[in-house]
Amino acid sequence: MVFSSAVFLCLFLPAVTALYLMLPRGFRNGFLFAASLLFYAWGEPLYLFLMLFSIAFNYGCGLLLDRPSRSEVGRRAVLIAAVAVNIGLLGLFKYTDFALDSLNRLTGSAIPLLKLALPVGISFYTFQALSYTVDVYRRRVKAQRNFLDFGMYVSLFPQLIAGPIVRYTEIESQLKRRSLSPEQMAQGLIRFTAGLCKKVLLANQIGVLWDRISASAQTAPALTAWLGALAFTFQIYFDFSGYSDMAIGLGKLFGFAFPENFRYPYRAVSVTDFWRRWHITLSAWFREYVYIPLGGNRRGRGRQILNLFLVWLLTGLWHGAGVNFILWGLYFFVFLAAEKLFLGRLLQKLPRAVGWFCTMAVVVFSWVIFACDSPALLGSYAAALFGANGLADAQTLYLLRSFGALLVLCAAAASGLPLRLWRAVCARIPKNAGEAAELVASLGALAASFVFLISGTYNPFLYFRF
């Protein structure tokens, strides 16, 4: 199931919320677990069992690792098995065909691909489950003995499909004790609506510009190509951060406080700063479970750079099974390493605007690498970006006129200025008036999003179709 769908908005969400409120406290976790399973099974009827296996397996490992034991070897064995199975399953479903395909290309063999469909959310729930198992091993947290509570943690539908990645230690206390107040629920719905608007009103609409430009990338002049890259830059941000907003808002609706995942990333003044603002929970996960265990920056410069390299190789790979994703991760590694070594200090001496501009240029180009899944497409798009087909043509102006206003809206929303202005206004007017305005505006925004959602399914035919 997907948040921006009629089934979720009109059927699932009202029903689940109403039932949740009516149930006594003790039954709520079990209910959320069941509802999350239904949510997942709706889109993936067969892969539900894979997720259930993952839940059961990690639950069992947690119990094993929690026992007081003098056998360090035994505990280590369980940990290794847990990591192997979790990563193994992820690898099997997500990366096997990529590995086989690469092998075929390199050696000329013709091993048939498995063509397994990727189970939705596997990258997310595997990382969540692993965070639990590793932290139980490290004795940072006690094992969760209640299977329903644990199942709810792994499969909780707000963040199951696209994050934020919630580490078990961050949420353990909320499993059993959550407060629920009208204020929290209202704030949750407001946040959810903001995310829905970002996805339906901004991401989907600016995506049209990207689709149009990328379709004719081979002949696009430079300005058009950059316009397209900018469009994708906005699309992916509003899509992803919108989804995180919806997840955090839904979490609040049920009493959870999830960690923030985005902090106006396009305000960053360096690439390091960017990655402290973009997909924060993923960076945090990699830092906690890969970078620091490898030694972080405490084993000398050379080792630090190597650790960075490994982390960014894995980060790129996590995003997708493709060479372009690895390239994308390593692209950032180069800049991050450079900033750690010398570039960071240089940037600090320059005006912030310069740092911002350079960062944005690096980021926008990185999205081109991310979006082009074939080297040929990347090559022709990069050539177009740097003027292979001229600077601009009549169509550039046409596209700019058609999407200019939307681009300005996107830039304003990405800058965070509207929210800051609104907060400033709220500080000057009676508190209740400000909140009341937000509530009314949310209802209006919900209606607008629904209009666009329905319109997205409009599909006229020139000649009659059965």
Binding site: C10, Q395, T396, R401, V451, I454, P460, F464
Partner: protein, 355 residues
Amino acid sequence: MKKLRICFIAVYLLLLAGIGVWTLAGKDRSFSENENRMLRTKADVSRSIADGAFQSDLETLLADQFPLRDRAVALQAELRKALGEREIGGAYLGSGSRLLQKITDADVDVAAIAKDARKYACLCADTGIPVTLIPVPSAVCSLPEALPDGAPAYDLDRVYAILQACDDAGVLDLRDALRGDGSLYYRTDHHWTTRGAFAAYRLWCEAHGKTAPDWDSLRPETVTRDFRGSLYSKAPLPGIAPESMELIAVPEHLSVTADGAEIDFYDREALHTKDKYNVFLSGNHGLVVIENPDAAGGTLLLIKDSFANSLVPFLIRDYARIVMVDERYAPVRLRDLAEQEQPDEIAVIKEACNF
């Protein structure tokens, strides 16, 4: 304040649930005039869950049967237009409240056009019957001033060049006759108007050494002023005014057979539906045979798409028998058909981009 928040939460959820209930509880619409397709109804929803068919059917059902669906689409079109977009659903929002179908070079398969051109040329060479190719320029090519600035269209001259390169078949060049005159194309439909077809007919008469009749002598009749055609379906903006449709008088004793069944030349019932262009011969069929006992004589074989439908009322005055074949719907071998019908002439009338 707490009461307001509770009220908000309740209204929010009830609004969403209410839409769901309203959509599912109401009577289903089975056909959408605007979209020209069948809508998913409760009866169509699949029962198989394992492959996800039920889930996607339910989603489609909710979207298709949403009571305010058409109004929502119109509202979204207005909002996008307000933001500056000049292209909605594949239709350009041109000047003068005119919609033009977006067709770019990427939509034109020059290889297929070249192949078909050779096919028609061979037809001429093999059968000895004169073949005339009549590529109809699309509105985007004929009315460039109405297009939004910089909006891409397709290269009409390239299509003509490919067709003119065929030695055996003649080409009727409609480019100049149809350029720049807005009355020759519908504002809300991708077809040419009856006047546009008349402009082509005048050239046809010239090519045959005849004098074309006067427009008024053909007794044109405005049959409707409420026409909003295919392009309005793509961009249903409330501000696009309806337009009128004219039909000329056809000879009285015509007999028309479409795929074996007898039909009327003008399907007046279609004027009461949204897709009024279907008034011409009830739309597209595979094989249509029209016989005019009052005409001088001669058989014309017409290979066509829907653009020919509005040209046929003019042509039928000159031929005793017109055989129309739409290759998309009738898998016939043209050579066999030509042998069978023994026409005096063969013409190919299609929109230039789809030739």
